[in-house]
Symmetry: C2
Subunit: 384 residues, 2 copies
């Protein structure tokens, strides 16, 4: 099928585009290179060098004979958004094209406003472009498990059947997210649910856990196909950061007690989940939510896992938690819908971590130590 991947130059957008192409789909990507721009702003870069998008696409064509279309532009520009939907005529749109780091959104007012405006307006433009062009297009939207926060009840997949004062209803699962970034995704989810209701759009909201790993079978075929690997305190996700810290002999930086528990997922499962969502679309008018994660782990358990796996001394340093989040909490998540569609999870194993150690060793000379220290504090509105 024809699938348009928005944010197709990013950490997950690029491997997703390759995976969908490999599976025989006709793929185009769109990107405004905002993610590459954040690197310049923060003075950091991906541990693994990445090629320009043009090169990536050309290498893929050389290796496989498959072409990937490319659009350069910004979803907050409605002319661009309408153009790509009209021009490519996708059957599914996979929407990764949002600012995706909680700490980045918490730097200061400017970054909070940028994050919400960029994400919410881009997504609104996309909803209108689909509704006006072809409401049959399936929107596959990346949300985050962080939308839910850490409620004291089981987390269901987007909707909750509840009873209150003797009456029953099926409601959107109540959200209480932990950053202006996570809030932007909650706003998106509400907007998408409404668009499905009034325009009979079809949408799948993928509430994704923290992704780890850097390679998929497709990106591993040539180093010029590599996706980015972030280790800095703003864009680096926790397991990736711990892996790099272990290799370079830096203490693993655990925030607070480390009792914070999160849903996690292997990058290879992410791309497979997107494929499953695209190939099994939501019905017209359906707002469907999948919890795109395969297991839950606390931050200190993730640190322990890295410590056990690394063939050398690893220390753990506890830092004051720069975020505002519950140090210890209940966390039980339902995540069966993607498994029902055929996902076979790669659970966190020493094997995978070892492959991450190898990648890290190769590029350890590129690590900038100062980028590992948290420098954005939730309680300080002027942290940046």
């Amino acid at each position: 099928m024809k699938i348009l991947v928005l944010g197709g130059d990013g950490y997950l957008g690029w491997p997703t585009a390759l995976h969908l192409s490999e599976q025989g789909h006709q793929v185009a990507v769109a990107d405004n290179f905002a993610r590459r721009g954040y690197d310049h702003e923060l003075g950091v870069e991906s541990l693994v060098p990445i090629e320009p998008l043009q090169t990536r696409i050309e290498v893929w064509r050389e290796l496989t004979g498959k072409t990937i279309g490319m659009y350069v532009g910004d979803l907050t520009d409605p002319l661009f958004t309408y153009h790509i939907i009209n021009d490519f005529e996708p059957e599914a749109v996979v929407h990764f094209a949002e600012q995706r780091a909680a700490p980045y959104s918490m730097i200061d007012r400017h970054h909070a406003v940028y994050t919400q405006q960029n994400n919410v307006v881009g997504n609104l433009n996309l909803l209108y472009a689909i509704a006006e062009t072809n409401p049959d297009i399936h929107l596959v939207k990346l949300g985050t498990m962080g939308e839910y926060g850490t409620p004291n009840i089981d987390i269901e997949e987007g909707w909750l059947e509840l009873e209150h004062n003797g009456r029953r209803d099926r409601v959107l699962f109540p959200k209480r997210p932990g950053s202006f970034y996570h809030l932007s995704k909650v706003h998106d989810s509400h907007n998408i649910e409404f668009a499905c209701r009034i325009w009979d759009l079809r949408a799948t909201d993928l509430n994704q856990g923290v992704v780890y790993g850097q390679q998929t079978p497709e990106t591993a075929r040539d180093e010029r196909l590599a996706t980015r690997f972030d280790y800095d305190a703003v864009f680096g996700t926790v397991l990736n950061r711990f892996t790099i810290q272990a290799v370079i002999g830096h203490a693993l930086t655990v925030y607070g007690s480390g009792g914070q528990t999160r849903g996690i997922i292997d990058i290879r499962d992410t791309v497979r989940c997107i494929q499953l969502a695209c190939e099994n679309p939501a019905a017209r008018g359906e707002f469907r939510v999948f919890n795109q994660m395969t297991e839950s782990m606390s931050v200190k358990d993730i640190a322990e896992t890295v410590k056990r796996a690394y063939p050398g001394d690893v220390t753990v340093e506890r830092l004051d938690n720069p975020r505002v989040e519950a140090p210890e909490h209940y966390y039980k998540v339902k995540h069966t819908k993607l498994v029902e569609l055929g996902l076979e999870p790669h659970l966190l194993s020493d094997t995978l971590i070892e492959s991450m150690f190898d990648i890290t060793k190769r590029y350890a000379h590129r690590v900038r130590l100062e980028a590992l220290r948290p420098n954005v504090y939730w309680r300080d509105p002027t942290a940046g």
Copy 2:
């Protein structure tokens, strides 16, 4: 106390400013005159002529000796927002300064994006200005009962105690609003709750019902103090519109079955509620929600009430509902918190409607009939 009323030139902001001033508070208003601009855009105007804000403030000073400060600017401009908080040093900020019409937000993509960007960014700027300047300032934010939608369970005041799979939690009440405008208020509510959590701000979110009426004791003192009275299909609220239709001999335009039930409130109660919220502030860190309504009525019952009260023939015309909403539904709302603080509701009575008839008769020659017809359709993304 020192109270800053944002949107102080509007339908409710202006009477609120007068009421707070009359109660002895030191009041300043801020406005960007966006509401007057929408009139130009839509080719309509308030049934009752309104004076420039400068004149209003001067008349109030002449009559009472009380001064009201005035700031002209836009909350989406952070320099303006920080300036007014720094300069006026309010103890409470009453925030009416948002685009407030559901149909306006549904005209087309541009109006949806404008509404969400204007409302969400203005409110974010305000949260940061308070957090950075003086986190002790009490934010009194106007939300809407429309944030809840029409769930099949009792609507509580903002929070819900629930049990699920044998575990309990207190969660934000799940929302399922019915327009991009209502969604913008849901986004605001989530952002405010988070700001209270991370910065220990104090906030009261007033989920207000549909307001009716045009006079308060303060605005009635001089016709130059009148507040606006909208009857058009975009900004006119239902009871105000029916009153005007009755007087000019136009059929009352009921959308769909008329079984849609909503919370309603008298304009005199609105200004009293704001006063009560300001004088009884939320605690530091508290995100408090009041349902600011006094009774529930269906659209057809509102039409019947107007028909009974009007001394002449009144007909009802059923139009296809331009909105997407449940025609018949459960609707039971808890709204006791403002009563506990001292609100004595004015319930909808023939007396009040008669006073609205008098105002309408006086200005009936200003009615533009074509403005009464709905021209924004929820199912059509290009309605405008």
